[in-house]
């Protein structure tokens, strides 16, 4: 059960790569690893929290009002996280700006509340939230890493916004002026995400082929678009 939940969140049903939920913040903030990490952690926190609350009240709330109640829970949690970030990670809050309150509109959250948390006990629900959040964060990190590396030639720039003013773990991997501008612009985000989705599909196809072992060689290839 636990393994299956983890696998669903991180890979099989990844919010970013498979469900394609929460694309607006995903594409907008992934100009650097740290931005991605910040938004990913905030989203994870909200996901776990809302899953817990929804699961706790799943037998009390009547079906006809469950959606408004979920919305209310999520909105309160997001506002709480937003205030907390403003208080403790002020610089990061400034960078992420509007995308923190916009976590409310991330369909992945209400989707998990409805599809999983409202039908399961608190513990698995929280774990599901954490895993879904981790899957989302992972996509944010990878996409942020690719875009930051190509666009600015660095990795982990701005870590001081999260880990205190003295932290500077920026890796300068490419020469300064070699930035590939497209990577930082919105089209670069779409292209990057598209490549990630494609890469995941390729890996899945390979795994599938291997599992089917020898007999069905010609079948799996070249069908799905």
């Amino acid at each position: 059960m636990i393994k299956e939940i983890a696998l669903q969140g991180l890979w099989k049903n990844n919010p970013g790569l498979v469900q394609l939920l929460g694309l607006c913040p995903l594409l907008a903030v992934t100009t650097s690893v740290i931005n991605g990490l910040g938004l990913g952690l905030a989203t994870t926190l909200v996901l776990a929290g809302s899953n817990l609350c929804v699961s706790l009240i799943r037998n009390t709330v009547r079906p006809e009002i469950r959606i408004p109640v979920f919305v209310m829970i999520i909105a309160s949690l997001v506002t709480t996280v937003e205030l907390a970030m403003n208080a403790w990670f002020h610089d990061l809050y400034r960078v992420l700006g509007i995308f923190i309150p916009l976590i409310v509109t991330n369909c992945a959250i209400i989707g998990r509340a409805e599809a999983f948390a409202s039908r399961n006990a608190p513990l698995p629900a929280v774990f599901d939230g954490l895993m879904m959040g981790a899957g989302f964060t992972l996509v944010l990190l990878i996409l942020g890493g690719i875009r930051e590396l190509l666009g600015q030639g660095t990795l982990l720039a701005g870590a001081n916004m999260m880990f205190g003013a003295d932290t500077d773990i920026t890796l300068h991997l490419l020469a300064d002026d070699s930035g590939f501008l497209l990577a930082l612009l919105p089209p670069g985000a779409f292209i990057g995400l598209g490549l990630l989705v494609a890469a995941k599909n390729v890996i899945d196809r390979r795994l599938e082929l291997r599992r089917q072992a020898l007999p069905a060689i010609g079948v799996a290839a070249g069908q799905a678009g």
Binding site: T31, T60, V61, R62, E64, I65, P68, V69, M72, I73, A75, S76, L77, T79, T80, L83, A84, N86, A87, W88, H90, D91, R94, G151, G179, L181, L184, L185
Partner: protein, 244 residues
């Protein structure tokens, strides 16, 4: 045909649902209110620290000894300060003697909208520093006006209206002395113009800007109308009320 039997449970169900909804609303609001209450002091401090940090970027903290936040006025000059909105002016003094101001003008003609600036000007009319506060210029091209991205904006330090002469306050393409960026001329052009205009504004209104002496005097809201230059582009200087 709604029978009484069917209606009762419906009404009851609706009431229960409504009460539940209300209950969750109250709990949600309570949670938010609690968080707000425990964080707002910290948030306020963060905002202040952030503002002070940016102010000290354009005006070193050792140049003044007054509380910049409390010694402010707002002025309006659409032509030179780039916006019809009131613009905040921070006044720096040392032992009560006027030392410098920090203007917060807008460069209205950036490539994608307004660019908000902080411009520190010494009492003698020399720039102590310029920084961009907010902009929406193209990443990788126009955003070189940010101090984190390039040193371009630092080039304004120590300049004034005579050095370089007024006609050289333009980007090279327009015959001036400031570098434009590869692929972006509009952005630096807008910033250079805004900085020059700020200097012009300061030159014309310096005495009026420092007119009301202390923060406590500002509380009396004596509108310090400038004595000079009343014929053209008279700024509407209002003393900002401070409640301290």
């Amino acid at each position: 045909m709604a029978t009484g039997k069917a209606q009762r449970p419906t009404v009851r169900r609706m009431t229960v649902a409504a009460s539940l909804l209300t209950l969750f609303a109250v709990v949600g609001v309570g949670l938010v209110a609690l968080t707000e209450d425990s964080t707002h002091e910290r948030i306020e401090r963060n905002e202040r620290e952030y503002l002070l940090r940016s102010l000290n970027d354009v005006l070193p903290a050792d140049r003044y000894d007054n509380a910049l936040f409390e010694d402010t006025i707002t002025v309006v000059d659409a032509e030179l300060l780039g916006t019809t909105q009131p613009v905040t002016v921070y006044r720096a003094r040392n032992n009560g003697i006027p030392k410098a101001v920090i203007l917060t003008p807008v460069a209205p003609d950036g490539y994608s909208g307004a660019i908000r600036l902080l411009v520190g000007i010494d009492y003698d009319g020399t720039l102590t520093g310029v920084r961009v506060v907010a902009h929406r210029e193209t990443p990788g091209l126009g955003d070189a006006i940010e101090a984190q991205r390039s040193d371009w904006i630092l080039g304004f330090d120590q300049l004034n209206l005579n050095q370089p002469p007024l006609e050289s306050w333009a980007v090279r393409r327009d015959g001036g002395q400031f570098d434009q960026f590869t692929g972006a001329t509009v952005t630096p052009r807008a910033v250079v113009k805004a900085v020059r205009n700020s200097l012009l504004y300061f030159k014309r209104h310096r005495d009026a800007l420092f007119a009301n002496e202390t923060p406590s005097a500002a509380g009396q809201s004596e509108a310090a109308s400038p004595q000079k230059n009343q014929q053209e582009s008279r700024p509407d200087i209002q003393a900002e009320r401070e409640n301290d």
